[in-house]
Amino acid sequence: MTNAIQLEGIEKRFGPVQANRGAGLQVAHGEIHALVGENGAGKSTLMRILAGLHAPDAGSMLVNGRDVTGWATSEAIAAGVGMVHQHFMLVPTLTVAENVVLGSEITKGLVLDRGAAERAVRELGKRTGLVVPPDRLVSELSVGEAQRVEILKTLYRGAKILILDEPTAVLSPPEVRELWAVLRSLRAEGGTVVLITHKLDEVIDVSDAITVMRQGATVTRMASAGATPQSIARAMVGRDVALALDAEYAGSTISGASATAPLLDVRNLTVSGTRRGNIVDNVSFSIAPGEILGIAGVEGNGQTELIEALSGLREARGLISLAGRDLIGDTVRERGDAGLSHIPEDRHERGLVLDYSIAENLILGQQHKFTSGPTIDGARVLAHARDLIARYDIRPPDPARAARALSGGNQQKIVVAREMARDFKVLLASQPTRGVDVGAIEFIHARLREARDQGKAVLLVSADLAEVLALADRVAVMYGGRFVAVLPRAEASPDVLGPYMTGAEHAA
């Protein structure tokens, strides 16, 4: 029997970047296949080639035994290959049903037959387990529901081979479990699924087979039964790595941390929203020296705004006290000078000026400390850069290289190096390892623990629950702009936190 997908020797180059070099993929019919690899390993490119979004420079593509090398998106859709992208492509002002049928509308004369569309969506949802009310507006949906609509859209067009790009990045644990159930039911109906992901435990849990990519090439293909996160990570990186998932929680080395005065004390912090109440709603907490407070929660529940309010990027009411100094009303620069370090969640928008050199990015936010008179002291900036590049192993070690030209992991190392090298008391670390390769994750986690062990206060926000559990001394869950639970690490586990994350349970 022929494979559903058979890619061989795929080459793809974008300017100077060789995204795929001789990559291959074999997926059998009715298989859930995981495609894993570090960021920039070429997974998404390979899948975009399969979906017809890019043409390969070389190599052959067979779908259901038919040579389809270099086909167009329309041909891919017609042949039943559909891709669900990482970033949703939905029209927020239209209903679920309207979004699903968009582009292949059922019409009654010249007008859309809304009733028929809703019936079709409801019926499809019942069959696959993708239940979303078809008459709801997409703008009112949760992220998990929006993703279901994306999958429905693809299935509605007759996809038999479904490609999902990092589908779990935005989901809470229960939503992830629901997604797996949906994928399994699709498999039971004879569908084939290719899943791009970097969460290794998930991979083993749901997939039948795994293909690992490294630096644009396919490294290995293995059966999921018998694979371990360690064996997959080794194939991804090419060496052994300590994974956050199985790292023993080390705990604070400073005993009696809670007895000392808190370094960061936040009282009744509130950020007003444009509609539907406050984005951050009366949040109070404190962090002691030598403590990491981890904030878990599904994205979009006020974590971003909380961090922005603390760092001075967003207006807020309440009290923020850093080692006894009130920060409300202070500018971003004043807060930084007072001892607040900030690793922002989006390094491309906020954390780096991509067209600035590594050396320039390493002083971003501290440029006023590297001056002589009105000018910037180039010699000191360069010495600073050389020092940090060596200590944080930023590659390539060229201070004049533009940050844009670096890999995601090395870009994040610039941000981490800069924020850890300044004189700080409190560190805000927001999604510090997002989109970063496994090797760099290990390194960044070690730096965060190091800051904690030096007696700093660390506030960690991460959408990755495993990361929060691996690093935090206390775990808070944020839902709807509030802290719905604050637990010592020993009492926190995915099963305990899950209901809080979805808002199913509230506690003081």
Binding site: H342, D398, A400
Partner: protein, 352 residues
């Protein structure tokens, strides 16, 4: 990106654009039944080939350096200043006004700082208005600067023609003191050309702007705002403050351009004394990649084309040179990242 790659990326698009313009020019000239070689030779002879033509090129380039630097500074801060046209006029007008008020017989060197201040203030105020409106209310600077062009030029024309013109002319009375010497006074071959010592001020301004942008902390912060406003905000930069100051200084630099005519050439303000130089400054800034060195070179190029148009008039219509300018502008604008970024920004603000 290595340094070499960065320089290549900065220099290649304008060179390709020039090549393309040359090809289009050849085709146009052939369509008039003339030999491209002969026309280009004539163009060069009429500009760089003799002292008078060269002087005219220098004169036109001087104004374009100011307006090019003005637009370039805006682009570095992520702002598209379309208002150099009226800022230039306002600068010239204010200088001329001061010149009428000053008593006669003051040495030129004493007057110069006063004129510089007046011209910078005139252009700076016109530039600060869109700056403040953008920083305070988010009004798009492209719209506001375009609209202000009409308002300011109409106002200046009204003031000139209704209040302070010399009867039967459209210009103000002459400056009483402080007019700058022409190059022809020092170097006889330049005699008759409008080239004057304002060119030194243009060079000083270009050097100062280069120092400010690439050496100072303020320049570091301004460029960060232009490249990534969110990152600049994160870095503790007051983005609104940078925005309005950049547009005010941009206007002031354009205003200085008015001195070239008022102080160095005719010694009075006249309606439409530099029509088009403000808009051409946009092209100069784009071709010059918003870098002072590039802007000076681009100003010389556009001044050469504009003066050369007169020289080749005998063989081909001088509008042919306008077409060449347009081709250069189109080719460069589609290839430079500044424009791509502006277009991206425009699209993003449309989405939200």
């Amino acid at each position: 990106m290595s340094r070499r790659a960065a320089i290549e990326e900065a220099v290649l698009p304008p060179l390709v654009a020039l090549l393309l313009a040359a090809v289009v020019g050849d085709l146009l000239i052939l369509s008039f039944g003339q030999s491209p070689g002969a026309v280009f030779q004539l163009l060069l002879e009429g500009t760089w080939g003799n002292a008078y033509g060269f002087g005219q090129v220098l004169y036109k380039a001087t104004t374009l350096v100011f307006t090019g630097l003005a637009v370039g500074l805006g682009l570095r801060a992520g702002l598209f200043n379309i208002g150099a046209e009226s800022q230039l006029a306002a600068g010239g007008f204010c200088a001329a006004l001061i010149g009428i008020l000053l008593p006669a017989g003051i040495p030129a060197l004493l007057c110069l700082p006063i004129y510089v201040l007046a011209a910078a203030l005139g252009g700076g105020i016109v530039g600060a208005v869109p700056g403040v409106l953008k920083a305070r209310f988010g009004a798009h600077e492209v719209i506001v600067t375009i609209m202000l062009n009409f308002i300011v030029l109409a106002l200046l024309n009204y003031l000139t023609s209704a209040k302070i013109h010399v009867p039967d002319t459209l210009h103000t009375p002459e400056l009483k003191s402080g007019a700058l010497p022409r190059l022809g006074d020092a170097f006889a071959p330049f005699h008759g050309s409008a080239a004057n010592s304002t060119i030194l001020l243009a060079i000083v301004t270009a050097v100062a702007l280069g120092w400010y942008l690439f050496r100072t902390r303020r320049g570091f912060e301004l460029r960060a705002v232009g490249l990534q406003p969110h990152a600049a905000e994160y870095a503790g930069v007051n983005v609104a403050g940078v925005t309005w100051r950049a547009l005010a200084v941009s206007g002031a630099i354009a205003g200085l351009g008015g001195l070239n005519y008022v102080l160095g050439y005719k010694h009075y303000y006249e309606e439409g004394f530099a029509t088009g130089a403000g808009f051409l400054g946009i092209a100069v800034a784009l071709v010059g990649r918003s870098h002072p060195v590039g802007i000076v070179l681009a100003a010389l190029l556009f001044a050469t084309l504009s003066q050369g148009g007169l020289a080749v008039n005998a063989l081909v219509p001088k509008q042919m040179v306008d077409v060449l300018q347009a081709v250069v502008i189109l080719a460069v604008s589609t290839s430079v990242p500044e424009v791509r970024r502006l277009l991206r920004g425009a699209r993003r603000s449309n989405d939200s």
